[in-house]
Subunit: 352 residues, 2 copies
DNA sequence: GCTTGACGCGGACACGTGTCCGCGGTCGCG
DNA sequence: CGCGACCGCGGACACGTGTCCGCGTCAAGC
């Protein structure tokens, strides 16, 4: 083995210098080809392109970015990867960004570890950071302040009420108001709220919509609704819906409508109600939220709310892409997305 | 609020040089603190740490990597972000990697665009590339060859039969054999295969397991099974299961057991069967695959196969982390994960 | 007051790339 | 054959960081 080259007979190409040597051109010439600069013979360009395809060489992105080229990386903070609507937003956003040449750096954002994640994003000089989901308010606000201080663009999808945050979010109040309006039209006056008990932080929160719908018809929130969320640890899965429904069935006076926080909770409740011999919607009406595919597969199909995810993500992506290069604006961008009520066969006239 | 430090009115900190100036130390001293080198007064270290927290400065990762520090980035190629088991694997893998200090660069890998994605990963000098899902065989093999040529580690999760590929994958043949054995024990001899018709590329494929289970009892595959997959465009969703079941119900001789490719297809079929007035499992038995949460929420609960995702991901992550720094080995690593049959109430004795 | 050691300073180089610039080789055209 | 245009060459610098090294400073111990 010759010690002149460090044990690389087939010349592992690690830089444009290596690559240029391999092609038989000057490094600067190769660089000019790679960057599409004029003044090169087509034959030379073709020679480089072919060698590029043959060797699979890819110039070091870190060196390029160091030299001032944009990183074309977007950091995405996820609450988790277990919530289907969140994952659908992620998928759609990633697709749009990818089509525009941006890579997505995805991190789940466990409470408390946010600082580290954001620092990592900043260290990699991402061009923007997107938050998808629901986070601890103070923590996100602190992170957003850090990002802004460093001049990095941000956008929050799905969480309202954050100070100084650019936001695109579903108008959940409108969604719940539509659900409640639908149920009120059917004559319902007593409601089991399944998993809805979170203090509203903005006028776009679910509870706000529920209250508004009731009050617009002169009904009292406390008299009409009941929540048993405190009896179980807060979750969002099927079992939680089942557990809550079970509790409600043990009450002396059963509400005529069960209003689920999401489709999973509603389906869990449906299972419980039907196991108890109740007929939906004849005995009890039931609603979900999010309009997942599974809603069509229950018996009966579920009345729910569609998030218009495509609109949300398109709005978000458009805004980010439009503001990428520009200096940050002091006034936050806030946009609400209108939901759409999807009426299934799980809701019917209130049993008198 | 307290503008005690007059030296930072408009100083945007963009480098350790800026930062050192801000702290009032030499750049080299700051660098030594950041890299934990000895020979520094505790007071100095503390001074830097505090300024770091105050300013939110993060050193340029690209420059660090350029200087030889590891990138600590893992590229993950996803078939899509719509398949729940795939997303669950992604989530688990991301969690493990993150705990070990690695960032995940996630890209979905649309057929044909793989070359671009891998080149991007290589350009960013990721330390390994993981494929999750099912891809076009020739394409993945070509990408893996590229990665190997560049000395980059790779691992394929969930796709068998790729030449030269390090692989961790569920033994789907064993899973299907377990399902078929269960149904055969219940007396079933005629099977509707829903969405299973893909030519087996390895001995771990579903059809291989189905054949093996039948032949081990002296039964003929073609005589016992029937597939109508060719009548619809291949999909994996509820509706596809519904459509296929509908077709089977139109046949003169109805199979006694419906074997779904996954839980979605099984649930879609369940809906169709029940809508047609059939009782499951008294009239027809039905099975799924993947053991998603929803399987417990159907009526009846679904007999299905659990993927042991935690084991899969742990195995994958351990192997990757163990082989990160080391030179590539010529002999591919191949590991199968054993599935687990989960018997629900959707399967029962064959109706005679 | 002197010695000594601990500690911070600042210059230097390297990493791989983009870009500028002056030089020289080659080819086409008259 | 001669001239100019074209085009590739190779040196140089910069980007932000890690690291080495020699030097200056300061305080503690005698």
């Amino acid at each position: 083995m010759s010690s002149s080259r460090p044990s690389t007979p087939s010349s592992v190409i690690r830089s444009t210098a290596d690559f240029a040597r391999h092609v038989g051109l000057a490094r600067t010439t190769v660089s000019r080809v790679l960057n599409g600069q004029p003044g090169l013979k087509p034959k030379t360009i073709e020679r480089v392109q072919r060698a590029l395809a043959e060797t699979g060489f890819a110039p070091n992105a870190h060196a390029m970015h160091l030299k001032g080229k944009r990183t074309s990386m977007i950091g995405i903070c996820m609450e988790d990867l277990a919530t289907p609507p969140g994952v659908r937003k992620l998928a759609a956003l990633q697709r749009v960004l990818r089509a525009r040449g941006f890579a997505s750096l995805i991190e789940v954002f466990p409470p408390g570890a946010g600082r580290e994640v954001i620092r990592h994003f900043l260290s990699l000089r991402v061009e923007a950071v997107v938050f998808i989901g629901h986070f601890v308010q103070e923590e996100v606000e602190a992170r957003i302040a850090e990002l802004t201080a460093q001049g990095t663009l941000h956008l929050v999808i799905d969480q309202f009420g954050l100070r100084g945050a650019n936001t695109v979010s579903l108008d959940r109040a409108a969604g719940m108001a539509a659900v409640m309006g639908h149920l009120l039209d059917l004559g319902h006056r007593s409601f089991a709220l399944l998993g809805q008990s979170k203090a509203p932080v903005s006028r776009y929160d679910r509870l706000t919509g529920i209250r508004a719908a009731l009050e617009s018809r002169g009904l009292d929130f406390d008299a009409c609704t009941r929540s048993l969320d405190h009896l179980h640890e807060r979750r969002n899965d099927f079992q939680y819906g089942w557990d809550l429904a079970k509790r409600f069935l043990a009450l002396p006076a059963r509400p005529t409508a069960f209003v689920g926080y999401n489709d999973e909770i509603a389906i869990g409740a449906l299972r419980c109600l039907q196991d108890a011999g109740l007929r939906v919607p004849r005995d009890v009406s039931l609603t979900g939220f999010n309009h997942q595919d599974i809603c069509l597969m229950t018996e009966p199909t579920l009345t729910t709310v569609d998030q218009n995810i495509e609109t949300t993500v398109t709005t978000a992506a458009d805004w980010i892409l439009a503001h990428l290069g520009q200096p940050l604006r002091p006034k936050p961008f806030v946009r609400t997305i209108e939901p759409r009520l999807v009426v299934g066969r799980s809701t019917g006239p209130a049993k008198v």
